[in-house]
Each structure stands twice: as structure tokens, then as C-alpha cells.
């Protein structure tokens, strides 16, 4: 009974893995009290970043290499999908002392 169920689950997992090869995940990055956390995040191409701004100020997540430039209004969440691999240093254009790194695997 149990082994059978396990096999079925494994099969489903395998199917799932085939359907979404990149195993897309959603990763939360929070901006609160002028700090981006986590400051270093590892992700994969196809993952979704959920930018959560808990401050009363607008912030941006602006890639130094021009890869992305997301504006997040006060108390809002914005989602964006990672499309290209690489190590991206990003900062807030309005408050350049807010800095973090996103490492995107292929």
C-alpha cells in the first residue's frame, strides 16, 4: 500500500519535473526600513521574484547592468520573472544606499 503510493507520488513528481524543467520558484525580497533582505539571493532563470515594499516610500530594484528596473510603490508588492542568468548587483534609484545582489543560475 505505502510503497505503491510512494511510487505514484514519485511518478507525479517526475512528471512535474518534466513539465517545468526549471522548477520555477517564487522568492520574496522585502524592502523594509530602507533595508533589502535577504541582501543576497540565489535564484534560477524562470523563478519569480516577489518584491515586497513595507515602507511608506517608493523604492526601485534597479539592476546595475540594465537587466531590470522595477518600481515598487509604498506598501505594495510587484512580481517579476527572471529571464537571464548572471550575477546582478541592484540598488534603489531613489535611495542608492539600498543595495543587494541576485545570483541567477541558468
Amino acid at each position: 500500500m505505502l510503497p505503491g503510493r510512494c511510487l505514484a507520488t514519485l511518478a507525479l513528481l517526475a512528471l512535474g519535473a518534466m513539465a517545468v524543467p526549471a522548477h520555477a520558484a517564487t522568492i520574496r525580497i522585502v524592502m523594509e526600513n530602507m533595508v533589502i533582505s535577504p541582501a543576497e539571493v540565489s535564484a534560477k532563470v524562470g523563478d519569480t521574484i516577489e518584491w515586497v515594499n513595507k515602507d511608506v516610500l517608493a523604492h526601485t530594484a534597479t539592476a546595475k547592468n540594465g537587466e531590470f528596473d522595477v518600481t515598487i510603490a509604498p506598501k505594495k508588492t510587484v512580481k517579476s520573472v527572471l529571464t537571464k542568468a548572471g550575477t546582478v548587483d541592484y540598488y534603489c534609484r531613489y535611495h542608492p544606499n539600498m543595495k543587494a545582489v541576485l545570483t541567477i543560475a541558468p
Binding site: 516610500l57 531613489y94 535611495h95 542608492p96 544606499n97
Partner: protein, 173 residues
């Protein structure tokens, strides 16, 4: 540049002198008033810049300043209300306001690129002076933990604005 740095230093000394003159560190109601006044000063400077600036980046920067400082001041008002603290006018606030009014009048006489450059240079010097005051006077003197933490976040915002202003100034050349 030296003149403007001088103004920044003078603003800081005013903060220190006023506190010393009272023979004690500023109280929480006074600190709240000084912090709020510092925000109002930058909002007024931004409103002038939104009208007078000719450079697109300067105009955008001014808009950012007005928006941020209005949001922070609203948060500060909400906090003092919650804490039942009534902001108390004081010599430091008065000196800051007087100095800011003079600066606004001085900037008001300039035009075009000369105005843009004077505005952004003053923004750098002003944010620098407020940062020093926050670090050395206001944050250490604040006794209410919530007020202290608001000032600490305020310091990070002002530091961010200073860097933003420095980027904009560098882009003018």
C-alpha cells in the same frame, strides 16, 4: 563649494549650540519638531525646484524629495499623535527655518543651469548637515524607542537622498 560647505557646517553648529544653550540635550518633543522642520525645509526647496529647475533630472529629483519627505513627515505626525507627544518649537528649529528661508530667497534669484547647480549642491550639503545632526545629536538624545527608531530610519533615508543628489550632481557635468 566652500561657501556651501560652510553653510552646512553652520547648520550643524546651530543644532549643537542651541542644544548646549539650553544646558541639556533636546527633549523628545523638541527632537520631533526639529526632525519635522528639517523635512518641511526640504519640501519647500523641492517645490521651488519643481517650478524653477530647467534640467529634467533635477526636476525629477525635486519631485522625489517632496514625495519622500511628505511621506516621512506624515509618519512622524502619526507617531507623535500615537505617543501623545506635542512637537515643541525651539531655538534649533527656528534657526533652521530662518536659514532655510534665506537660502530659498538666494536660490530664487538664480536662473537656468546656475539655479540647477546651486539647488543640487545645496541639497547635498543640507542632507549631509542633517545626517550629522541626526547621528551626533538627535538620535543619541531621543529617549522614546519608537521615536529613536523613526529617526534611525530617517537617517538612512537622508543618507540615501544625499547619495541620490550626488549622482544627479555628477550627471550635470
Amino acid at each position: 563649494m566652500f561657501v556651501r560647505l560652510g553653510i552646512a557646517v553652520a547648520a550643524l553648529s546651530l543644532l549643537n549650540c542651541a542644544a548646549l544653550a539650553q544646558g541639556a540635550k533636546p527633549t523628545d518633543p523638541q527632537i520631533a519638531h526639529i526632525a519635522y522642520t528639517a523635512g518641511v525645509i526640504d519640501i519647500n526647496a523641492a517645490k521651488q525646484a519643481e517650478e524653477k529647475a530647467s534640467n529634467k533630472e533635477i526636476k525629477a529629483f525635486a519631485k522625489d524629495m517632496a514625495r519622500d519627505h511628505e511621506a516621512v513627515n506624515k509618519q512622524a505626525l502619526d507617531l507623535v499623535k500615537k505617543l501623545k507627544v506635542t512637537p515643541e518649537d525651539n531655538d534649533t528649529s527656528k534657526a533652521l527655518s530662518k536659514q532655510a528661508a534665506d537660502k530659498l530667497a538666494e536660490l530664487g534669484k538664480l536662473k537656468g543651469a546656475a539655479y540647477d547647480k546651486a539647488y543640487i549642491d545645496n541639497e547635498i550639503a543640507y542632507h549631509k548637515a542633517v545626517n550629522t545632526a541626526l547621528e551626533t545629536q538627535l538620535i543619541p538624545s531621543a529617549s522614546n524607542p519608537e521615536l529613536k527608531s523613526l529617526l534611525q530610519t530617517g537617517l538612512k533615508i537622508f543618507q540615501g537622498h544625499q547619495q541620490h543628489a550626488e549622482h544627479v550632481a555628477a550627471g550635470l557635468k
